[in-house]
Structures are given as C-alpha cells and as structure tokens.
Symmetry: C2
Subunit: 71 residues, 2 copies
C-alpha cells in the first residue's frame, strides 16, 4: 500500500536534487517513485513509508525540508 | 584531541556546500571547524571523530564523498 507525498525542499541546483534522489534511492522498494523540481523547490515521493519517516530521511541531506501533504 | 581531515565531495553550488556544513553542524562540539570549497570540491573538517565516522556522516547528504587524508 503506497501513497504519494509532496515535500518542500531547499534545492538550488541539480546536485541538490540528486542528493534527495540518492537518499531516497537507498530505501529500496519502500520508495517506488521520486520526482524533484528545483524550480518549484518540491520533491514528490511515492512510498509505503509514512510522511514522517520520509521527512526524517530527507532531512539527513542537510537541506531544509517541510512536508506539504499527500497528493 | 582533534585532527583535521580533507574529503573530496561532489558539490555543484553553495546549497550543496551548506548541506555538508549543516550535517556536520549537528555533531556539536565533536566538530570544531568546517571549511567547504565548491571550486575545489573539498570539505576540510577539524574533529575529535575518526575519518570513517566523518565519512559516514557526510555520506548521509546523498553526495559522492571520498576521504583524501589527514592534513
């Protein structure tokens, strides 16, 4: 059972966006899709994990991250 | 007893460099100085921790990181 969540994340280049992708990529099949937009400062994640768990993972990057909501 | 270490880290903007600083900043007084250079792709850390411990922390950012050596 998976859900899609949106997070606001401070990303100023594609390297920043790549960091978000790689951190979520370490979670294996618990994360089935990740989309990043530097322009909109947004990370969209489809996952079987909770938004709190995903937020904690994204915060490991050292970026400022906020949970926006489920899509 | 602290030591200064150099790491090579893939950083393409100041946001990337800031992520490295913030992740190391969470370690409190175990890290006494951090310098980043996007131009040289280098993070210089003065810490009481081992290079392996610091490498693990820097890898949390989702960036590619390598330990270069003690300074």
């Amino acid at each position: 059972m998976s859900q899609t969540y949106e997070f606001q994340m401070a990303m100023t280049c594609e390297g920043c966006a790549g960091a978000a992708k790689r951190v979520l990529g370490k979670l294996g099949d618990k994360v089935t899709n990740v989309e990043t937009s530097v322009e909109n400062q947004k990370v969209t994640v489809t996952s079987s994990m909770t938004s709190d768990e995903l937020l904690a993972e994204l915060q490991k990057t050292g970026k400022e991250v906020k949970f926006i909501g489920a899509v």
